[in-house]
């Protein structure tokens, strides 16, 4: 069978140049658009779990909150931690654009550590809640939503780690920071989603 593509007789030697540069038909940057669309998908994924929350809390009217009550104060503290990490992330971005290597290093490490703190506190809370997923549907929804968020924090931390590695190897600067900006956008999404989860689960 023939290969799907053969050198066209009209073309120049292909191994001397690669593909022609694609036309930019939009002002929007490709990678940023990509991560934004991905985040839309993620929002829909959370949306489905929020739908589950609605069905179980409102329609089925299962006992809410599950167990003896939820640690609102701790969750609020965690929200503050995550919000701070978004601030430090933003600062890291700005440092990259200005070429501030030290700023980037401090910023990414702080962001990462704040994220880890959030996770650590959440896991600690899980162990002391007094109920498990199999206790009730409300408990399942609680663990489902916060667990889903936690999984995304882990993904975010992985992306931050990769960014940190590249920053410390000097690969990020004003000329090439897209590889940092994209994980940054994802991290902001993780933070914003916590505000929504926190408000819905702990406050309302």
């Amino acid at each position: 069978m023939e290969a799907a593509s053969i050198p066209s007789p009209v073309a120049h030697d292909d191994h001397h140049h690669g593909p022609p540069e694609a036309n930019q038909s939009s002002r929007v940057n490709r990678e940023v658009l990509g991560i934004l669309l991905f985040i839309i998908s993620e929002i829909m994924l959370f949306g489905a779990f929020f739908a589950a929350y609605f069905f179980i809390r409102v329609v089925s009217a299962d006992q809410w909150p599950p167990g003896d009550g939820l640690p609102v104060a701790v969750a609020a503290t965690n929200a503050a931690i995550l919000l701070s990490s978004s601030v430090t992330m933003h600062w890291t971005d700005l440092s990259a654009k200005r070429g501030n290597q030290a700023g980037m290093r401090i910023g990414i490490v702080t962001t990462f550590l704040l994220g880890c703190t959030f996770l650590f506190i959440q896991i600690n809370e899980y162990l002391h809640l007094g109920f498990q997923p199999k206790t009730s549907a409300s408990a399942s929804v609680f663990f489902g939503l916060t667990g889903l968020h936690g999984a995304h924090v882990v993904i975010g931390l992985l992306l931050l780690w990769m960014s940190a590695v590249r920053i410390f190897k000097g690969k990020v600067g004003p000329a090439n920071y897209k590889g940092l900006e994209v994980p940054g956008i994802y991290w902001h999404f993780v933070d914003a989603m916590w505000i929504v989860v926190f408000t819905t689960i702990y406050v309302l």
Partner: protein, 630 residues
């Protein structure tokens, strides 16, 4: 050998797979020991974790993550296009970044699963040929129709459209490739994993998944381990679909050739744009529904346990919120294909281009408002019925507009009736029939009676077979010369069409009747009164199944040794036909310029795009190898 395992490829993929199984074994026993769960080794638990994690090891082994990991670790990455393009058949079995190679990988893998899904259908029809038990027990039967539907939806219709678009679309918009070629490759490789997982379920204790492709809770929650193969395979198929859709959207928005405004895009591009919006927004809901089932099954969650406050109907709402848009995901790309074929074969512009584009967008929007029409008899609150009936009825309007526009495209054209055209006009008629039964189903008083009967089976096959599959065949035959550089056998193509058309109708038309008469669906046996029609349907379905072999033969033999095809055997105006068949490895020397609409037939001298000569580039210049995005 050691060197082979260090390189991305099959040796390493298999090695990593075994490594993955070992890791999952360790993880499972370790976690169970840590949390004091007895027994520490549990085959089901290991299997459950393996289904989730081993595919990722495989993907790593075959090479999907190499470049990204290298980049992430801060090492130097080189874009020398070594993994771009196919020079031999071996390249099709690797991670390749060329959208044309990926397109063909998608199409061949999809058709492979189509044949297996079709075989499942033959098994179903063999069992149903007469009342009473013929060959298989009810559990195997339930598995057969479940695997049939699941394979054909997630491993055939959805990905084959992605594959055709993957091949054609970048060429059509004058782009050198997709926006994210490596992501494209990853999207593809998740597919055979998903399909293999679904087939492996037959080997699981308790048999394959058997709760239908809809997998309603609580049946799916209580089912044996085979069900988890569905639950998790769907995640991989869904992830593949979302990644591809993302790729298409970014490509279409940011990489169109100069001069190609949105309203100069061919309708295939519009169709895939709309479909991709649907995929990105809706697919996460089926992922979520399966996550919830998995949590209930594996970790004792109570999403769907009424005794613990759970809500059984919630599954259906979450599931159908994706699965209704899914049917548009399975049809819209086909609409795009039909527009391309008809314009070229009728030598006329597509009638009402703007309304065709807007109707696609209308279907996307409205498609999110109708999901509960799959739930009219589910026991949901009655008040939901009328609003859902109204929205479902409304969605018939943009669809009707498309049918009428296609007919108007034919009107007064110069119609070349060859194989692709036969599929296209056959589609118009058959999809109309399917759409009519759809409007009937929108009307709740009738739907109550025919819900979950063979009337539904008739409807879905008229729109999925007479609809989607007909457009898939139209597209495959139409772009076959472009993809392979050869012409298919026209006579065999016509025989394929006529056999399929006739026996498709003999198989599925009577199902409308027996459904209304009272035969439920998903049954391994039925009351004696339905015997005659079932025998007729079964025999017809066997002939229908055999007719697909003619297609297979034609494709294989023509690809090997059919007459060579020119650049533009159909004299079409769109860009993909302005390059060689098959196209050059990087599609173009220089990005073309679009100077007019894509369907300016009948206007002497009209041109859609002008291909430019490449600028002279010194050897070893910057475009040669460049760093990835830093």
């Amino acid at each position: 050998m050691a060197a082979k395992i260090r390189q991305p490829g099959w040796y390493r993929a298999i090695a990593f797979t075994f490594l993955g199984i070992a890791v999952c074994l360790g993880l499972s026993t370790g976690l169970r020991a840590a949390f004091n769960v007895d027994p520490v080794y549990d085959g089901t638990a290991v299997l459950q974790i393996s289904l989730l994690m081993v595919p990722i090891f495989f993907l790593g082994g075959i090479g999907c993550f190499d470049y990204w990991l290298r980049w992430a670790s801060g090492r130097k990455v080189v874009d020398d296009h070594a993994d771009h393009g196919a020079k031999s058949w071996r390249d099709y079995f690797k991670v390749n970044t060329d959208h044309k190679v990926i397109g063909i990988q998608y199409i061949t893998v999809s058709f492979f699963f189509m044949f297996i899904g079709g075989l499942m259908a033959m098994l179903v029809r063999a069992e149903l040929a007469a009342p009473g038990r013929q060959f298989i027990d009810p559990n195997t039967y339930n598995g057969a129709f479940s695997v049939h539907a699941t394979l054909l939806i997630f491993l055939f219709v959805i990905p084959v459209f992605a594959g055709i678009a993957n091949y054609v679309l970048p060429l059509m918009i004058g782009a050198p490739d997709m926006a994210f070629p490596r992501l494209n490759a990853l999207s593809f490789w998740m597919l055979p994993l998903a399909g293999t997982m679904m087939l492996l379920s037959f080997l699981a204790p308790g048999g394959s998944f058997a709760a239908g492709w809809t997998a309603y809770a609580p049946l799916s929650v209580d089912a044996p381990i085979g069900q988890s193969f569905f639950t998790i395979a769907v995640q991989f198929a869904g992830a593949s679909s979302i990644a591809t859709a993302l790729n298409f959207l970014v490509t279409i928005i940011t990489m169109r050739a100069p001069g190609m405004t949105f309203f100069r895009m061919p309708l295939l591009v519009w169709a895939n744009f709309s479909t991709s919006l649907l995929v990105v927004i809706a697919t996460p809901f089926i992922a979520a529904s399966q996550f919830m089932v998995l949590l209930d099954r594996a970790l004792g969650f109570n999403f769907f346990s009424p005794a613990a406050g759970g809500d059984v109907l919630m599954y259906q709402h979450v599931f159908w919120f994706y699965s209704h848009p899914a049917v548009y995901i399975m049809m819209l790309p086909g609409f795009g294909i039909i527009s391309e074929v008809l314009a070229t074969r009728a030598r006329k512009p597509v009638f009402g281009y703007r309304m065709m584009a807007f109707s696609l967008l209308a279907i996307v929007l409205l498609g999110f408002t109708v999901w509960a029409h799959h739930m009219f008899v589910s026991g949901m609150s009655n008040w939901i019925r009328i609003p859902m009936m109204v929205t479902t009825a409304i969605i018939a309007i943009p669809t009707g507009i498309k049918i009428f526009s296609w007919i108007a495209t034919l009107w007064r054209g110069v119609l070349k009736i060859d194989t692709p055209m036969l599929w296209a006009v056959g589609f118009i008629s058959m999809f109309t029939l399917g759409g009519i039964s759809g409007v009937m189903l929108a009307m709740v008083p009738l739907d109550i009676h025919v819900s979950d009967t063979y009337f539904i089976v008739a409807h879905i096959h008229y729109v999925l077979f007479g609809g989607s599959l007909f457009t898939i065949f139209a597209g495959i035959y139409f772009w076959f010369p472009k993809m392979t550089g050869r012409m298919f056998n026209e006579r065999l193509g016509k025989i394929h069409f006529w056999l399929t058309f006739i026996f498709f109708n003999v198989t599925f038309a009577p199902m409308h009747l027996i459904g209304v008469q009272g035969m439920p669906r998903r049954v391994s046996d039925y009351a004696d009164q339905f015997a005659t029609w079932n025998m007729i349907i079964s025999i017809s379905s066997f002939i229908l199944g055999l007719s697909s072999l003619i297609f297979l033969y034609n494709m294989i033999v023509s690809w090997r040794s059919g007459p060579k095809a020119g650049d533009n055997p159909w004299n079409s105006l769109t860009i993909e036909w302005q390059v060689s068949s098959p196209p050059p490895i990087f599609n173009f020397d220089a990005i073309p310029s679009v100077v007019g609409g894509p369907y300016e037939y009948g206007v002497p001298g009209a041109v859609h795009a002008v291909l430019n000569k490449a600028e002279p580039v010194a050897v070893g210049a910057a475009s040669d190898s460049h760093e990835g995005t830093d």
